[in-house]
Symmetry: C2
Subunit: 268 residues, 2 copies
């Protein structure tokens, strides 16, 4: 999915919502556990219930890897089921020396047909470049994350900047706003004005609203781009675990609808 196609989807649906499929066997409604593939059954129901309200799905690979082979298979079926009308993100936080990152790119852009993958920047340019070499794919590099641990390194002073600022500035020179996004946690609202100055055109993937407490309003008021939107705001647990009963998909839709309605007001 190109930047232009993504922007069109956003304005058509009046939504920049990404639904995070952090699917955990211990949290899905018990009646699904009798299904042959409970994880896929859950994901399918969530996708069916939310697909007109969001422009993207983010699969947190850790939850699938924790289930071994069956998990990897459920991930495969889920990304195939989502199809081409939503931006599919492998939230995988990969990154290694060049020849290894090339293999990760194959894993998530070829063996699994994702549009995008999240990448950790610590190992520098040759660990990120192999992902950027795929013409029609997106590389989403960690900038400032939503968790408390962000203070340990990301928010430390590095030369005349904070480390995450240096990461944003440096990584921005490796790609373009057409193939590169940044992860910016929603809980870091006080930094958003500054971050938008450093990366005035890039899309930000923003996790951390809902369960982690970030404010959709604050983020949108400080970082939304006038015509290109430039934001994908992700909610995972707040949507997919809105109910643990048989009505889970209906309740997930209700929460996704609230996000979409609020987003529509900011897009105007």
């Amino acid at each position: 999915m190109t930047r232009q196609q993504l922007i069109e989807q956003i304005y058509t649906k009046q939504s920049y919502l990404c639904v995070g499929l952090d699917t955990d066997l211990s949290k899905i409604p018990p009646h699904l556990l009798q299904q042959e593939d409970p994880v896929f059954a859950f994901n399918k129901a969530i996708i069916d219930a939310t697909q007109d309200l969001c422009v993207s799905y983010k699969i947190n690979t850790a939850f699938y890897e924790a289930m071994g082979l069956a998990g990897w298979q459920a991930m495969q079926k889920t990304v195939a089921y989502i199809g081409n009308n939503h931006l599919t993100i492998a939230d995988a936080k990969r990154g290694d020396i060049g020849n290894t990152s090339t293999q990760y790119a194959k894993a998530f852009y070829e063996a699994l047909p994702f549009d995008a993958i999240t990448v950790a920047p610590y190992m520098g340019e040759d660990s990120v470049k192999p992902f950027l070499e795929y013409a029609d794919k997106w590389t989403i590099v960690l900038g400032l994350t939503s968790n408390n641990g962000a203070k340990d390194f990301e928010l430390q002073t590095c030369g005349t900047q904070l480390l995450y600022e240096k990461v944003l500035q440096t990584v921005a020179t490796w790609g373009t706003p057409n193939n590169l996004m940044f992860v910016i946690g929603a809980t870091q609202a006080s930094e958003f004005v500054n971050i938008r100055k450093i990366a005035p055109q890039h899309f930000f993937l923003v996790p951390g609203v809902g369960f982690q407490g970030g404010s959709l309003k604050d983020i949108s008021e400080t970082a939304l781009l006038a015509n290109d939107c430039g934001l994908l705001v992700n909610a995972s647990r707040a949507i997919i675990y809105a109910s643990a009963k048989e009505d889970f998909a209906t309740e997930a839709r209700a929460i996704a609808y609230q996000y979409q309605q609020e987003m529509a007001t900011y897009l105007k």
Copy 2:
């Protein structure tokens, strides 16, 4: 495998060699491709040929993920085949917010029975802690890596230190030399004296000898600990692709034997 058991293995075998199983279908001897599971067949032959010369095997997960389900299955069979007499390392470079790192820990310490996993430090303490909570397992955090990209962030000044120095010092407070190691690239020999001062007791997992050009001699002379060794030196491509013909296992053994013999001289 505890620190004491690992040290015993090292002095018994007179080796601190880790063999890296970066198994790539396009590089293994063509006659294996007719096997039902060529990757496992290759790994099994390499393990059989080297197991008395090394104390550890490192599986580079990227190469397995790139093959999709079949790759994940080959990884499962390989780690089971290695068994309990070698330290099994998932070279996976994972790390995410706490509840997600917990899932990665489940994936590699439970669903797959690895002894150790490599972890990226960028996201800070709560992204690393879930791995350290497993009593009998090892967390191997990236310090200074072997690739050229290390200069982009790891070798940048951060306050009064380099970033990687800050990472080593900070992360060392989260675990102990009994459950925490660091990745230090063999190509960074000029930094080894300094690194050993910062982490005087920890084991270092050292990739980058062989194909990447790091010197076993330089590393051993500067960072080997008097009684505890404190080093696991990894070679992947130099050993497993020593020959692309039917004699690949014999040739792999020959290279592993050279490393072991050299290591024996440094252990004395």
